[in-house]
């Protein structure tokens, strides 16, 4: 087939993916892949991998899978960031060609939002929400696994773009008409749209799952106003997901149709209108930024109470304020495109509605401070992140208010001031919150603490690196530097600030290296958590041993107070007073290969559609149908865990009386 091979090579490996650095990565990936296969075969671990991980429906294991994916994506997105910063520090060189720069800022943003932030949040949801509410699993364990594999295969589809076919290059917001076929041929944007649709379905299902879990699966006695704040934030986030992702899916699908099937939604010809995309995207996009922060508000509320040894200050107000934020989040999307000229009345309305959000946010800040006030503060790594978050996030919120001042936004929009604003909230809020939660709940997930000294090193490097990177960017924005430019003349007075910013980025890179070292070191030598309650915690997850047994609770607890575990400890009760007759058989969900296979089928469908290779797409589609049929007819999805087995486990943990 002489004409077939060059076609394949040209399509899969066009010149844009034959750059020297990418070829080097290709080589590295192939070596690593072979290495993993050899290792798994030699240690006979394939069965373990399949039975214990790829087919699992246990929320605690799914949490670990999410966490691994998020950390890998944090690395990928971080390397992208360092490449961007290196180019901006050397604007007169061609460290990266312009086209590659476009691809790298696109993959950086998309990965950090959809494939790092979201799964990291879901890792925390999965790890602790069922434990906090005294449940044995989430409402729909198999759906939970499907969510994970849709996310994971969406992420893989997105990530292979840079070695096969070429990356998307229209920014994480993917505005038309630049994503249209006329201006942007090649598979890159197809990858973007398909990967996000697939991962987005997984996210929507996670939203449904955790909304039902938190609404319906709470232990007896845990009324809404006795739920831990993290559970509240999970509930609110899930509701936000439910309402935010459908418009995104529609916008992505329409863009994809324009590219693949020649429709005219967002094209410039035949009545299409790019602004419609921008509206739909931000109708999702603004709630999305709150999806990325509210869970971390929850984390900080747990951390601050535990390490101040006080009850959270103003709990009802805290609840009211996240609920208020949830509603307000839907009334502000136009602030992302004031400059498109919707007119003074519209802009004024959305400017004001944006500023309103500062009120509930400010209330929360005060409550965290009042919780610490007069408390016995323990400066653990988790708590350090919490304390650093408060001032950092206040700056981020304040600059957000400045951007909401419409006339000022005409100047600041799409400048480095905007870039600094959203990194300020996303790093100082989201990332710090994720890391705080990671240090806080790591013992529960893995049974040992993360080393605190190393953790504090990573913390200080992150904090210092953050300020060094982003303070200069505010100034650059005021000096007129716009986002997404790969070069600039030296005479503009931008160079020094850019060099400082790049230096800061590398400090954060170092922080990440320390973090990884911290994790690996602690897995090998970390201090074991034998009590299950290493921080003297307040909520129910700390009443269980670490790591938690498969069935979570041998006996479902009855809740009387907010901070239920703390109250039990105060009353001298413990859950270790389990009597053999308290334990009954437990119905548990069975492992299933379907979620994994469903994700894989979606991957095949997505890959086929990316290149418009319809036979491959049809194979994927048939795979999906088969998976759905199989799970429809599968009535055998539960098994019974015998009371004796549970008694035995509890006895070896020393938690059974007699």
């Amino acid at each position: 087939m002489p004409s077939f091979v060059p076609y394949l090579v040209h399509t899969l490996f066009p010149p844009t993916v034959r750059l020297p650095d990418i070829l080097l990565i290709d080589f590295g990936l192939i070596c690593a892949g072979i290495g993993v296969i050899v290792l798994l075969t030699k240690t006979r671990r394939w069965g373990w991998l399949w039975n214990d991980w790829l087919t699992t429906v246990d929320h605690k294991k799914i949490a670990i899978l999410y966490l691994i994916a998020a950390l890998v994506m944090l690395m990928r997105g971080g390397i992208d960031a360092l490449m961007l910063r290196a180019q901006l520090a050397l604007p007169t060189t061609h460290f990266m060609p312009a086209s590659q720069y476009d691809e790298v800022f696109t993959t950086h943003g998309t990965i950090m939002v959809f494939f790092m932030g979201m799964p990291f949040i879901f890792a925390l949801f999965n790890a602790v929400v069922p434990l906090m509410i005294g449940a044995r699993d989430v409402a729909f364990p198999r759906l939970n696994a499907m969510s994970y594999w849709l996310f994971a295969f969406g992420a893989i589809l997105f990530n292979i773009s840079f070695v096969i076919g070429g990356s998307p290059n229209a920014g994480w917001t993917a505005y038309p008409p630049y994503t249209g076929l006329a201006f942007n041929p090649g598979p890159g944007e197809n990858y973007y749209f398909l990967a996000l649709i697939i991962a987005g379905m997984g996210t929507t299902m996670t939203g449904i799952n955790f909304l039902v879990t938190t609404l319906k699966m709470r232990a007896p006695g845990m009324s809404l106003m006795k739920m831990p704040m993290f559970v509240w934030s999970t509930m609110v986030t899930s509701a936000l997901i439910l309402f935010a992702f459908p418009p995104l899916t529609v916008a992505l699908a329409m863009s994809l149709f324009d590219r693949l099937f020649g429709s005219h939604f967002f094209t410039l010809a035949r009545g299409g209108m790019p602004m419609m995309y921008v509206n739909l995207f931000w109708l999702f996009g603004h709630p999305e930024v709150y999806i990325l922060i509210i869970p971390l508000f929850g984390v900080f509320s747990e951390v601050v109470a535990t390490f101040s040894k006080k009850m959270l200050f103003g709990y009802p107000v805290m609840v009211a304020s996240i609920v208020a934020i949830m509603f307000l989040a839907y009334g502000t999307w136009v602030h992302h495109f004031f400059t498109m000229g919707a007119g003074p009345a519209v802009n004024a309305f959305f400017g004001l509605s944006t500023m309103l959000i500062a009120i509930p946010t400010g209330v929360k800040i005060f409550n965290w401070i009042f919780t610490m006030w007069g408390g016995r503060i323990q400066t653990t790594t988790a708590m350090l992140y919490q304390m650093a978050f408060i001032p950092v996030f206040m700056v981020g919120g304040a600059t957000g208010i400045l951007l909401a001042v419409v006339p000022a936004d005409y100047q600041l929009h799409n400048s480095y001031f905007l870039v600094a604003h959203f990194h300020n909230v996303l790093i100082g809020g989201t990332l710090f919150g994720l890391l705080s939660g990671l240090y806080y709940w790591w013992p529960k997930m893995f049974g040992m603490k993360l080393n605190e000294t190393q953790g504090k090193w990573a913390f200080w490097l992150f904090l210092i690196g953050f300020w060094v990177t982003f303070l200069p960017q505010y100034l650059l924005g005021l000096k007129g530097m716009t986002r997404r430019m790969y070069t600039y003349p030296l005479g503009f007075g931008w160079h020094d600030l850019n060099v400082i910013s790049t230096f800061g980025a590398f400090i954060m890179g170092a922080a990440f290296v320390v973090l990884v070292y911290n994790i690996v070191w602690s897995l090998l030598y970390g201090e074991r958590d034998l009590t299950g309650d290493p921080w003297d915690g307040r909520t129910l997850e700390w009443s269980l041993p670490s790591p938690v047994p498969e069935y979570n609770f041998p006996r479902i607890p009855v809740v009387h107070d907010r901070d239920a575990w703390w109250a039990m400890k105060q009353k001298g009760q413990s859950l270790a007073d389990l009597r053999p007759e308290d334990v009954h058989d437990v119905e548990m969900p069975k492992n299933s290969p379907i979620p994994f296979l469903l994700g894989a089928s979606f991957f095949v469908l997505g890959f086929g559609m990316t290149f418009a290779w319809w036979p491959i797409a049809i194979i994927g589609f048939v795979g999906i149908i088969l998976c759905l049929l199989f799970s429809g007819f599968d009535y055998n999805d539960h098994h019974h865990l015998k009371a004796d087995a549970i008694r035995q486990t509890e006895a070896t943990l020393g938690r059974l009386q007699g």
């Binding site: 409402a139 729909f140 759906l143 929507t204 939203g207 449904i208 799952n209 909304l211 039902v212 609404l215 319906k216 699966m217 007896p220 439910l242 309402f243 992702f245 459908p246 418009p247 899916t249 529609v250 916008a251 699908a253 329409m254 149709f257 099937f261 020649g262 429709s263 005219h264 939604f265 010809a269 035949r270 009545g271 299409g272 209108m273 419609m276 739909l280 109708l283 009855v558 049929l629 429809g632 007819f633 009535y635």
Partner: protein
């Protein structure tokens, strides 16, 4: 802790709500319907924005024929009624009647889809496809998404018939039929909106 009242309570509930797991799934299905409502809301708003962007192509008034649309409406509304009768039979434990009503629902749904496809093909013969204009892109994706939902629902109902045959009316099959009926009524409501805002508005507005 035994909670005897739960069992008593469960006995008064319809079968599909009796089992805790199955009843959770009904709640979950409502949540899914919420996301589907929002999908259609996004599609409707797109249509509202684009309904006059006809470019060089035909307008709604020139294109739409009310005959087939009325037939589709009749078929779908009737099918919503038949699945309702199916649920009634299910509550009375009559599996054969349930299967018959479901089968009739499937037939009516298939009639709907056939008429709709026929309509779309006749548009294509007039070169009125989504290549033509933003209006037709928005029309096709809105009505097409609804049609795809109905098609999926038909296949789903067929698999349910097999399950009913095998297992009879149990907590689980009852829940499945019940969620299917929710889905089907939902599509019916969406169609009423399409009929009003797309077809009637296009002809009269």
């Amino acid at each position: 802790m035994s909670l005897p009242s739960v069992d008593e309570h469960a006995q008064k509930l319809p079968l599909e709500f009796a089992d805790e797991h199955e009843s959770l799934k009904i709640t979950g299905f409502w949540m899914f319907l919420v996301t589907d409502v929002l999908i259609f809301a996004s599609l409707f708003s797109t249509y509202a924005v684009f309904h006059n962007s006809v470019a060089a192509g035909p307008t709604a008034d020139q294109l739409f024929k009310m005959g087939p649309v009325l037939l589709e409406t009749l078929l779908l509304l009737t099918s919503s009624f038949t699945i309702g009768l199916g649920i009634y039979a299910m509550r009375k434990g009559q599996v054969r009647a349930l299967m018959a009503w479901t089968f009739l629902t499937i037939l009516l749904g298939a009639g709907f889809v056939t008429t709709e496809i026929h309509d779309f093909v006749s548009f294509a013969a007039l070169h009125a496809t989504w290549h033509t204009s933003a209006f037709l892109s928005a029309f096709d994706i809105l009505v097409g998404t609804h049609g795809a939902h109905v098609t999926f629902g038909i296949f789903w109902a067929v698999t349910l018939l097999f399950q009913l045959k095998k297992h009879g009316i149990t907590e689980r099959t009852a829940r499945k039929i019940y969620t299917f009926s929710l889905y089907w009524h939902f599509l019916d409501i969406v169609w009423v909106f399409i009929f009003t805002f797309v077809y009637l508005n296009g002809k009269l507005g």
